[in-house]
Amino acid sequence: MEILRVENLSKVYGAGEARVEALKQVSFTMERGEFGAVVGVSGSGKSTLLNCIGGLDFADQGKVFLSGRDLFAMGENERTVFRRQNIGFIFQSFHLIQELDVEQNIMFPLLLDYKKPDQERVDEILEVLGLKNRRKHLPGQLSGGQQQRVAIGRALITHPALVLADEPTGNLDSQSSQDVMELLCKASRHYQQTVLMITHNMNLTASADRVFQVSDGKLSELGGVCK
């Protein structure tokens, strides 16, 4: 089943001398449960692509369909709600909420919907993340790897159809990176979620179903290695 469809996405920053074509006519689709990795040199436009797909940023041209819904056709509020229910974000620098403890951070997207979080689900995620004995800790009291795991938990709690991760391992050592990769693989294999991840580390692309390369704003697909 097709989850994500990107059509002719283009984005230009600046004008004149400072003009940068960050994205040039990018098109691709992803199926449910697929794990995609995006590679490319710095400044090639990876983050821009991911932000556009996630509805954080706007493209100049082109469309993004998620579960058949046109992201850019929605109103601001509608898109926000749609995003928090259907897309999970993971950032390089975690962006946890300092005032909330581990458990609350993970439940946060549900709380935003004023839903009563399902405690079993939260426990399950904490278990998977290996943070069960850290649930009452504040972000300031966690290591970088642990914080990123919390961020992943937060991205997964709503069962989003699509998980977007921008260099989730950029700030982590190799062991923590491995943990994160395992969690993301699990998300796509076990929970059938579509994952799109940016990485600089070619080794990490090994666990991906598909590998995209962005160079100079253009997207091309490399032969993925399937396990």
């Binding site: 932000n51 926000t80 950032f91 909330l100 709380l111 935003l112 004023y114 504040l138």
Partner: protein, 783 residues
């Protein structure tokens, strides 16, 4: 870039927007101080102008003979000197024109410049001893013309002929006494005074001193030079006081008030600037860490921060002073507009140098004091923070928010407010501070209402009082008829009677009020019931400082030969109708008055006139009153006096209400500033929340939650601390002197909370706009 401090300029360019808040705080503090002192200054000036208008521009007067006067005129500090003498000021001395007692003033022409009352309205000042100027009153009533002749009889029995050269202005006093008054020149005056007495040649020498001379010292020297007694020296106290030439407490208390308020503003300013600098420093922790990494010492960082703060002053202080001056202008303009005639002399575009200087000084001191703790904080940043990467989060949380009790957005908002105890108390405390200020300064308004009596609603423009022989001889019908006269708005009639208390033989004065007056009196009722008085079952007793007939007591009086019991139903504050403050005064209804005394008429009419009343209409009224009251009555025109009272009250009100407005303004800006700062410090966090899926509405609710938490606790703290203070001040200022009991300062409480709520709404508005405009991508990737 030649010096490390040059970095300030470069960094200022980058952080212009973030520092805007701090600069705004400085502008505000300077602005407020400038306005406060500017207003105090303007108030002084307008009081001075009024004082000169009523009392004249002379500084001192000496009783001396001609020889001494000539010597005095040669003293270097004397700018202007003029002779003045008066005869028959008590109107009993036997100087009469057509049988009417006449006051006589003789003076040099120059005297007119020193005393506005000595003004000639039409014609000229008498040049020779045979010329005279009559006041309006006399001209009108005698039907005289300029150029005509008039004869005045002296107590010695001779009649002197004068030629009329001009019309003298009715002074407030002569209008009130309804008297004849004439002006002579000094020669004419001296020729008139009784011969033979040594005192005849002695006159009052009015002196105006030169600018910038120490008047008290000069007066002292003159006294020793001419060996003058106390009684021979007069000073224009009010004018000298307003020139700061006497050490009078009234004026000093005015500037003291301004000073206190300025210090309070300064404290508030320090609060605000410190807070905003703290947050700006927290945001730049990494930057300071980096500086330390690169080898800057802690001291250098401290200097950096302090220098940076001073660099903001360069723009902020002039801006604050300019704004303050502009507002002072606006206030002066308003005074002139609202009460022309009274404040004509106020400079529209006058600059209060005192205000500007105070603003600049206070601004600098405030900034230096405010920069101390943030500078220390910046200096203490360890180089490690730059590399550890955990910088940039402004408030490291110590405990988690309660997401169970409230919805998550509210919970986070509340947590943002209360998360850090220190920050919470600082902000809520600063909110409370403005409430405390407002509540305690609010008592000054009550004080003013009592001390500077405004014109009471019942204050007459013309007061008619009949003489004491047959007191209540104005018939009720006449009072009603007179109310229909053109130009008359309404009339309050009063009967007076003396009763004795057989218990101790003391007198009491009984005054009758009509229903309107009784209802008006209720406003100043200290305790008791109006209804009983209205029904004629009881009386009001007027509050006396030493002893007052207690409310609820019964007193025995002798009235009309019989002993009667009177019930005291209430106590009211002092009224102007009290004839003698040492005698108990009772006020009753007309019905009761008739029952007790048997009198049907009235002794006094308080006439209020329409605004557009003409002089002829007033003359008509006088004629009618004269026909009814016969010979022995006072017709006292109080319009000019009233105008003066109104003016004094008015400028005082502008000043005091202005103070309150300033306090409200502090509250307002403080709230806006605090919230704006808190939001801009968390912008990055908000961006992350938006990325996760928080909607704009939820974010705004979160900010509102935070703001409300501060406000609710600020209001509670403010009331807790402010009300006892309010009570204390009210008791010392008002209750002790006028007897009015303290009650909850309702309007103050409502107004300040209203101001705070309005500020909260506005405070959330701007961050809301910022949040709406915020692009998620930029906010989270900014570093």
């Amino acid at each position: 870039m030649k010096h490390y401090l040059d970095l300030i300029k470069i960094s200022a360019k980058q952080h212009r927007k973030q520092n805007r808040m701090t600069r705004l705080c400085i502008v505000l503090a300077v602005f407020l101080v400038t306005v406060i002192f500017g207003m105090a200054d303007m108030e002084m000036r307008s009081q001075y102008i009024q004082a000169v208008k009523t009392d004249g521009g002379w500084h001192a007067a000496f009783v001396m003979d001609e020889e001494q006067g000539a010597l005095l005129g040669e003293r270097p500090e004397v700018k202007e000197i003029a002779r003045y003498g008066a005869l028959n000021y008590n109107l009993e001395g036997g100087y009469q024109i057509k049988g009417v007692e006449t006051g006589i003033c003789g003076f040099d022409k120059e005297f007119q410049e020193m005393l506005p009352d000595a003004e000639i309205l039409e014609g000229t000042f008498p040049e020779t001893a045979g010329e005279i100027a009559l006041n309006e009153n006399a001209m009108d009533r005698l039907g005289m013309q300029i150029g005509g002749k008039v004869s005045m009889t002296t107590p010695q029995g001779d009649a002197r002929q004068y030629q009329i050269t001009g019309i003298a202005k009715n002074t407030a006093l002569t209008a009130e006494l309804d008297a004849f008054c004439v002006f002579l020149n000094t020669d004419g005056f001296l020729a008139l005074s009784p011969e033979g007495t040594g005192a005849a040649r002695e006159m009052l020498y009015y002196v105006e001193f030169r600018k910038f001379c120490n008047i008290q010292k000069a007066i002292g020297e003159i006294r020793t030079q001419f060996e003058l007694e106390d009684a021979q020296v007069r000073q224009n106290t009010k004018v000298l006081m307003l020139m700061l030439q006497t050490r009078d407490s009234y004026l000093l208390s005015f500037y003291l008030l301004a000073g206190i308020l300025a210090v309070l503003v300064m404290i508030a300013g320090i609060f605000m600037i410190t807070a905003s600098m703290n947050s700006s420093i927290a945001r730049r922790t990494e930057f300071f860490g980096m500086m330390r990494c690169l080898g800057a010492t802690g001291k250098q960082v401290v200097r950096f921060v302090r220098k940076e703060a001073l660099s903001w002053c360069k723009e902020a202080i002039p801006a604050g002073v300019a704004a303050g001056v502009a507002v002072t202008w606006a206030l002066c303009g308003m005074l002139r507009f609202l009460s022309p005639g009274l404040f004509d002399g106020l400079p529209v575009l006058g600059i209060s140098w005192l205000g500007a200087a105070a603003g600049i000084l206070m601004g600098l001191v405030t900034v230096l004091l405010a920069a101390r703790s943030p500078a220390k904080r910046a200096g203490a940043v360890s180089p490690l923070t730059a590399v550890s990467g955990n910088a940039g989060t402004v408030h490291a949380a110590k405990r988690a928010a309660h997401t169970r009790l409230f919805k998550v957005d509210m919970a986070l908002g509340i947590h943002h407010a209360s998360g850090s105890k220190k920050n919470f108390f600082l902000v809520a405390g600063s909110f409370a501070f403005s409430i405390v200020l407002f509540l305690s300064f609010g008592t000054l308004i009550d004080f003013m209402h009592h001390a500077v009596t405004p014109l009471r609603a019942s204050a007459p423009d013309i007061a008619v009082n009949v003489g004491s022989e047959e007191m209540n001889r104005i018939p009720a019908e006449f009072a009603e008829d007179l109310e229909e006269y053109p130009g008359v708005k309404r009339i309050f009639r009063k009967g007076y009677a003396y009763l004795t208390m057989p218990a101790d033989g003391k007198d009491v004065v009984l005054i009758s009020y009509d229903e309107r007056q009784l209802r008006m009196a209720e406003d100043t009722m200290v305790e008791g019931k109006l209804s009983e008085v209205l029904d004629g079952k009881g009386v009001f007793s007027v509050f006396l400082e030493e002893r007052t007939l207690a409310c609820g007591s019964n007193i025995l009086v002798t009235a009309g030969g019989k002993e009667r019991k009177i019930h005291v139903s209430g106590i009211i504050e002092s009224v102007p109708d009290v004839l003698n403050p040492s005698v108990d005064t009772l006020i009753c209804s007309e019905k009761m008055f008739r029952e007790l005394t048997g009198e049907k008429g009235f002794a006094s009419l308080d006439i209020q006139l329409e605004k557009d009343v003409t002089d002829t209409q007033v003359q008509e009224i006088r004629k009618a009153v004269g026909q009814v009251c016969g010979e022995d009555y006072d017709f006292s025109d109080k319009r000019m006096r009233n105008q003066e009272v109104r003016g004094a009250y008015f400028s005082m009100s502008v000043f005091l209400y202005g103070f309150l407005a300033v306090i409200a303004l502090i509250a307002f800006f403080n709230i806006i500033n605090c919230i704006g700062m808190s939001v801009s410090a968390r912008m990055r966090e908000y961006g992350a929340m938006r990325a996760i899926g928080m909607s704009v509405g939820q974010l705004i609710r979160m900010v509102t939650g935070e703001t409300l938490t501060y406000t609710v606790f600020g209001v509670i703290f403010g009331y807790l601390a402010g009300l006892p203070l309010n009570r204390f001040m009210f008791r010392t200022l008002v209750t002790n002197r006028w007897g009015e009991a303290w009650s909850l300062p309702g309007w103050e409480m409502v107004v300040i909370v209203f101001v705070m709520l309005a500020s909260v709404c506005l405070a959330v508005l701007n961050p809301a706009r910022q949040i709406k405009r915020m692009t998620v991508v930029e906010t989270i990737s900014r570093e």
